[in-house]
């Protein structure tokens, strides 16, 4: 025959954000460490090699921070004017940066003075990057040019003058040493090939381009500008794949998660949005205190570093998961106990009897199964249950009522036990989703304990609190009804064709709750 059917616990929709894998993942960071820089943080770049230091470009300085250090472990401050776009080489040993005066400087991480200085740009250089072969540097400047430099002899190799406005962002392909893309304020993103003297692909973003990003495979290009983030399929010759408009203000920076499954975009609207790269839907959103200018993720998403316009650098570290393992683990039976006898093959005359699989039942269900109603109620009145999952408590009260034994379960309690029930009622009675069940329970309690009222000051006090609560609720409902009446009047005066418009009104169910308490 059918087994015991556990009590159906009423589930209520959780208000606010849905809990998904992504929200869990992106919320699993510690509270951010805030570091004050000298000016707006325009660029944050992680070293691709351990120990994953990161370079922060702010004002005329470049700070190198260690992973958990809050003080810079190294500073490059030999800039006459604002520095831009400090970027590590793939091996993490060289750093290149542009500057307001049009120079491009190459630093050794261990050194202090620049190794190379590339002179040729006439205006501020906002973007620099190493090409995939590590021996060249690409730079884009406000003089509308894009230049390719050779590191060993610090010579300019190529100059592209195809942009018609400031070049503010760029990115070199990680696979092909000859390919790189730049985005400009002329609303275009161009892909250049060092083997030819002109751009190979040009796409129209529609807004001044603030940031570009090439996927590791090089097949997809992401550009950000204005409020839009656009994804382009480069293998199809620059076809627009998807256009995302999820920010209220200009999107300033882009970043890929280490797995490549999520795309992050930071914006002046103080938000970082996380997109899935399969569906291009926003799966999570992170809030910051100021407009975001730069964003970087460490290896394995261990750290999120965000630079903001107010010069504050926010560093969030992932919570370590080692904590759970440290708990003293109960010794469990060995694996072989579970598989014991499982491999036995049935012989000819054997009769195989399967042990019925045991269904796991909650403790209160076990009590209810054996008709121990008071005990079941006691269990769900434990503070751990009433605070965390009041719906379980309410469901059990409802089930007891359905079985017709609620009065039995509530009766015969001493001062401590009854005050526990009353505490729960006081806390939850006014919640509309629990009210119908709890009002009924409250009535039963009053009926049962009316004769002994006055014997315990503790319980009497609780009853008074309950009474006050009910009176307050009644006042509330009355006011609500008055407001509704006024609104009805207003709507009635409005001439409306649609006579079928229906106004849902909240139930005035609590009104019947007038009770005389001692």
């Amino acid at each position: 025959m059918a087994g015991y059917k556990p009590v159906a616990i009423q589930t209520y929709p959780v208000l606010g954000e849905k809990i998904t894998q992504d929200t869990l993942y992106w919320n699993n960071y510690k509270t951010p460490v805030q570091i004050k820089e000298f000016g707006a943080v325009s660029k944050v770049d992680f070293s691709p090699q351990p120990p994953y230091n990161y370079a922060v470009t702010a004002s005329s300085r470049i700070h190198i921070y260690g992973r958990y250090s809050q003080e810079p472990i190294k500073t490059f401050s030999r800039f006459k004017d604002t520095a831009y776009c400090a970027t590590f080489r793939q091996d993490g040993r060289l750093l290149v940066a542009g500057s307001e005066d049009g120079g491009v400087q190459l630093f050794d991480i261990s050194g202090r003075a620049p190794l190379r200085q590339f002179e040729g740009h006439t205006k501020a250089v906002h973007t620099v990057d190493f090409t995939a072969d590590k021996y060249h540097v690409v730079s884009g400047a406000d003089d509308y040019t894009v230049k390719l430099w050779d590191i060993p002899n610090s010579k300019e190799i190529l100059t592209f003058k195809e942009h018609s406005d400031y070049v503010r962002c760029g990115c070199a392909s990680k696979l092909n040493p000859d390919l790189f893309v730049t985005g400009s304020y002329d609303h275009t993103v161009k892909m250049f090939d060092a083997r030819t003297s002109q751009s190979v692909i040009s796409v129209e973003h529609g807004q001044p381009v603030e940031s570009v990003l090439l996927f590791p495979s090089g097949g997809l290009l992401v550009s950000a500008g204005g409020r839009y983030v656009k994804v382009w399929d480069m293998l199809k010759g620059g076809q627009l794949l998807v256009s995302l408009k999820n920010h209220h203000k200009t999107v300033t920076c882009l970043c890929l998660s280490s797995s490549g499954q999520r795309l992050l975009s930071g914006s002046l609207d103080r938000k970082v949005k996380v997109y899935s790269t399969t569906s291009y839907k926003v799966v999570h959103s992170l809030d910051y205190a100021a407009s975001i200018l730069s964003l970087a993720l460490a290896h394995e998403d261990e750290t999120i570093v965000v630079g903001m316009t107010n010069g504050i650098l926010s560093v969030k570290h992932r919570k370590s998961e080692a904590k759970k393992d440290s708990l003293p683990r109960r010794r469990r039976p060995a694996y072989r106990t579970f598989i014991k006898g499982k491999s036995y093959m049935k012989q000819r005359d054997d009769i195989l009897i399967n042990r019925p699989s045991k269904k796991h039942l909650e403790l209160y269900d076990r009590d209810l199964k054996n008709f121990r109603v008071s005990k079941a109620l006691d269990r769900v009145l434990e503070p751990s249950c009433t605070i965390k999952t009041p719906e379980v408590t309410v469901s059990i009260i409802k089930e007891l009522n359905r079985r017709g034994v609620l009065a039995n379960a509530l009766a015969g309690r001493d001062e401590k036990e009854i005050s526990r029930v009353l505490n729960f009622l006081i806390r939850n009675l006014s919640q509309p989703r629990f009210a119908p069940v709890l009002i009924n329970a409250a009535e039963i309690i009053i009926d049962i304990y009316l004769p002994v009222i006055g014997q315990s000051p503790v319980v009497d006090k609780k009853f008074l609190v309950l009474q006050g609560l009910v009176e307050k609720e009644i006042d509330y409902q009355r006011e609500l009804l008055e407001t509704l009446g006024m609104m009805d009047m207003l709507f009635a005066t409005m001439t409306r064709k649609d006579s079928t418009l229906v106004w849902q009104r909240t139930s005035g169910g609590l009104l019947e709750n007038k009770k005389v308490e001692s």
Binding site: M1, K5, N401, R403, G404
Partner: protein, 891 residues
């Protein structure tokens, strides 16, 4: 009858007439005057799938096309008024109305239906001296002796009184005990009936000897103990024990019975220990008392066992007497070991109140019958091994009758909180769908969650159900659930649960079943004055694919209660009735299109016409007006005075069936909305009020040519009366259509074309003349193989009930040899042959006859086979030896 004044009913069409209103109406009712013999005792109840076929009427008149008869199809109330029990663990018997059903415990199939009683069967007992025979007694005053292995009636003893219960005792070989009612209606006597030995089939046995007086009629109140040394009977507060040897009666009255406080300890059942002098009695307060030393009026003692909190329904001792079984409303079978309160075992959650418990003679199996039309076979270690389940009887059918579009099963309320799917074709419950999904507490006075509404949508892909529980006026718990059909698991899976979809009772629920509709739509109408439109929406995100139902639109009309809702066939219009007013809404924009108001009472039923009549909308009001509106002209087309209780449209045609109720009985009208005359009227289909009806599409369309039965061509109409009888209209005997599984292997179609078949089958026909010539003047004319009962029997009987092949062989050969002698001796086969010659083309008719013949022949065979071959048969054999069979070689 005329359209109410003020309507624009220009033509003045009047369609449906109340009885006696127009002579024409009476004239068209072809069945108005026909007696419906089986139906008249209202609420004849049958066991699991029990059914009587009334359409025998048509057969008796010899005309098949005579017209539909009313056919008691399956009724709800259960089982056995008498106990069910076993023999050798392989059969289980249960009383079901006029029949006794024999089930196989292994396969749960019905092996035989023993029919012959003309009234309710009240008791069955195995013949203690021959365990292949079964006694049964009935209200018709007869005791019948059956050979249940072959399903043959052996003897009938006519007693003459209404028999209420039957008991047999091993040592009293020639007598049985019955309960009869002598003078007053409430006073019953236990008498012993001497069964005279005689070879004739019907024997008068009027020799009654009085045993006990003032007893209760139910067999549960009487038990024979210790191999028939005494009989114990209980009534109210007293236990009487009659000792056969001493011929004395001792009476024990419970002392507390005089005290009104403890007035609940009435006796409810009694059982006797098979070996010792010990009587167990069950009481209304749930106690079980074990009585000992009751042969002494002074020294008697009793001990009490108490577990049940409600009335003990039945008690039974195991064969050895070591354990006692008890059951009651708790639906828990309790086994008391060694008559001790400590040692008890339980088999809980049996689903419904235990009505009877019986134990197999060998003691390996127990069996319980339940109030929900179910028998459970339980192994000795308290494990249920088989369930025989019929149409579950529920006191309230809220959901009405529905047809599952996938399985074509009838769907209605089943067990508490369940929907049952019942196959009309195989007369079996397919499965129960647990809707409420909560532990069922069977307790008196408890307000249960009730499944009130259900509807199928989108070709059976969706099922919507509504359950409610109302403890007080203000506390209504409502829940709507939407179930999706899962093709993989072949069942319904809960998709969406809506708490309190409305603030008051939901009165109607309907899906939009239009073919073109891409989005499933559901409409609920409620007493809170709103109707809500629910649509399926896509809930899927990047993590999972999901669909769910959300409310799309809420409509109301001047705060009237919404009472009915209905979609037009193409799904473009929604009609919602608000008390007296019908509103029509556009299903695209949910705009109110128009309203119809007849001011003729609240609308009780509402439906759109279909196919060619889709421009009509029909509404039936509470005070007996049936209205038909034309949706194109927005005017009343016609109206008629008819107190409609059930209005059901046929999904395969334009026809609509309406059942009206008056004090005379219920009448059926079938009509097309477009035509002024009803197609068919059947007066008095049932004495009681009909609650629900449904059209069931036929698998194979019939082809009635007659005007008035053409509506039955594509669908069949089933209806449920207030007493839970499920009835249908049919023209044929249901045996033909509703073939039990054991009969499905019908010989005609499925005989393999083996050489043997050619010899005996087709070739027989062709070479009849040749054979005749060869036999010269011999009058041997072998009947067709299909009509030889032995062959039929061999082919139709399930293999597991057949005797060994060696035994069959002689019988089989014998049957082939019988010809001349048997024919001259028996007249019935002669008739058969003549009939066959006449109507050999009409296979249906033939079947009916052959089956009939088979029954009568079987009785002969049963006795014949035991004897040696008679002289005439030997002669016959010799003749056959001489016959030239050379033609076989020519094959």
């Amino acid at each position: 009858m005329r359209a109410p004044p003020g309507t624009r009913d220009g033509a003045g069409v009047c369609v449906l007439c109340e009885e006696g209103d127009t002579p024409q109406a009476r004239g068209t009712a072809p069945w108005g005057a026909r007696p419906l013999p089986r139906l008249s005792p209202a609420g004849r109840l049958r066991g699991p799938g029990g059914r009587a076929h009334v359409s025998r009427i048509g057969w008796a008149l010899g005309r098949l096309e005579d017209g539909p008869g009313v056919d008691v199809y399956a009724t709800a109330v259960a089982l056995p008024r008498g106990p069910s029990f076993f023999r050798t663990e392989s059969y289980i018997f249960c009383v079901s109305g006029d029949f006794v059903k024999v089930y196989s415990t292994a396969t749960e199939e019905c092996v035989h239906i023993l029919q012959g009683h003309r009234n309710l069967v009240t008791g069955i007992q195995l013949n203690p001296n021959n365990h292949l025979q079964l006694y049964s007694c009935s209200f018709d005053g007869t005791i019948k002796l059956w050979d249940y292995v072959d399903g043959i009636l052996i003897k009938t003893f006519i007693v003459g009184h209404k028999l209420h219960a039957l008991f047999t005792v091993a040592h009293a070989e020639d007598s049985v005990f019955v309960t009869i009612n002598k003078e007053k209606p409430d006073i019953f006597q236990l008498v012993s009936v001497k069964l005279p030995k005689s070879s004739s089939q019907e024997i008068e046995s009027k020799e009654l000897s009085f045993v006990l007086d003032y007893i209760n009629q139910s067999p549960k109140y009487i038990a024979f103990g210790n191999e028939g040394e005494y009989v114990a009977a209980v009534r109210d507060f007293s236990l009487s024990v009659y000792f056969f040897k001493k011929k004395t009666t001792s009476r024990f009255t419970l002392s507390s019975s005089r005290n009104k406080k403890h007035a609940k300890n009435n006796f409810t059942c009694v059982a006797c220990h098979p070996k010792e002098d010990c009587i167990a009695t069950g009481h209304k307060d749930g106690k079980i008392r074990l009585w000992r030393n009751f042969d002494d009026d002074k020294k008697y003692t009793y001990t009490c066992l108490h577990w049940h909190h409600d009335m003990v329904m039945d008690l039974a001792f195991s064969v050895t007497g070591t354990s006692l079984l008890s059951g009651g409303r708790e639906s828990v079978l309790v086994e008391w070991r060694d008559a001790a309160e400590k040692n008890k075992e339980f088999l809980p959650r049996l689903g419904a109140t235990i009505e009877h418990i019986s134990v197999s003679p060998a003691g390996d199996l127990f069996c319980t019958s339940h109030s929900d039309n179910k028998i459970i076979v339980i192994h000795r270690n308290l494990e249920a091994s088989a369930v025989i389940q019929g149409l579950v009887k529920d006191s309230n059918i809220f959901t009405g009758l529905m047809i599952d579009p996938r399985t074509k099963a009838l769907v209605l309320n089943g067990k508490p909180g369940h929907l049952q799917f019942y196959s009309l074709q195989s007369d079996k419950q397919l499965y129960n769908l647990d809707i409420v999904q909560q532990e069922y507490i069977n307790d008196y006075g408890l307000i249960q969650i009730e499944l009130t509404k259900a509807a199928f949508g989108c070709y059976g892909n969706w099922l919507a159900t509504v359950e409610q529980r109302q403890e007080k006026e203000t506390e209504l718990e409502l829940q709507m659930k939407l179930w999706m059909y899962n093709k993989k698991t072949q069942g319904f899976v809960l998709n969406t649960k809506v708490n309190m979809p409305h603030e008051d009772h939901i009165t109607a629920l309907c899906f939009c079943n239009a073919e073109k509709s891409e989005n499933p739509t559901l409409v609920t109408a409620s007493k809170d004055g709103h109707f809500k439109v629910w649509i399926l929406t896509d809930d899927s995100d990047i993590y999972k694919k999901a669909v769910g139902w959300t409310c799309d639109f809420v409509g109301s009309y001047h705060k009237y209660q919404a009472t009915n809702c209905c979609f037009s066939e193409d799904g473009s219009l929604l009609a919602v009735s608000f008390e007296e007013i019908v509103t029509i809404w556009d299903s695209e924009t949910w705009e109110l299109k128009c309203t119809f108001c007849q001011r003729a009472g609240k609308i009780r039923h509402l439906c759109f016409g279909r196919l060619t009549c889709s421009k009509y909308l029909l509404g039936a009001t509470e005070n007996g007006i049936l209205c038909c509106w034309n949706l194109l002209s927005c005017a009343l087309e016609w109206s008629a005075k008819l107190n409609v209780r059930v209005m059901e449209p046929d999904l395969n045609s334009e026809n609509i069936a309406a059942i009206s109720h008056s004090s005379m009985g219920s009448d059926l009208f079938v009509f097309k909305p477009s035509e002024p005359r009803p197609l068919y009227i059947q007066k008095n289909i049932s004495r009681e009020e009909v609650q629900w009806g449904v059209f069931v599409p036929r698998d194979v369309p019939e082809s009635f040519t007659s005007e008035s039965y053409r509506w039955l061509n594509r669908s069949q109409f089933y209806f449920l009366t207030k007493s839970q009888s499920l009835l249908t209209l049919s023209t044929k005997s249901p045996e033909e259509k509703l073939t039990p599984t054991s009969k499905q292997l019908l010989a005609e179609e499925s005989l393999p074309t083996t050489p043997f078949y050619f010899i005996l089958g087709k070739h027989r026909q062709q070479q009849d003349e040749k054979l005749n010539a060869a036999l010269e003047n011999e009058l041997v004319q072998l009947p067709l193989t299909e009509n030889i009962p032995a062959i039929n029997e061999l082919l139709h009987t399930p293999a597991h009930v057949l005797p060994s092949a060696s035994f069959l062989c002689s019988m089989f050969v014998n049957s082939l040899l019988l010809s001349k002698e048997s024919k001259s001796a028996e007249e019935i086969p002669d008739d058969v042959d003549m009939e066959e010659e006449k109507e050999s083309d009409d296979s249906d008719e033939e079947n009916d006859f052959t089956e009939k013949v088979q029954d009568t022949d079987n009785t002969d065979l049963g006795e014949d086979i035991i004897h040696q071959l008679s002289k005439s048969e030997e002669k016959e054999l010799r003749k056959f030896r001489k016959v030239d069979y050379s033609w076989i070689t020519a094959l």
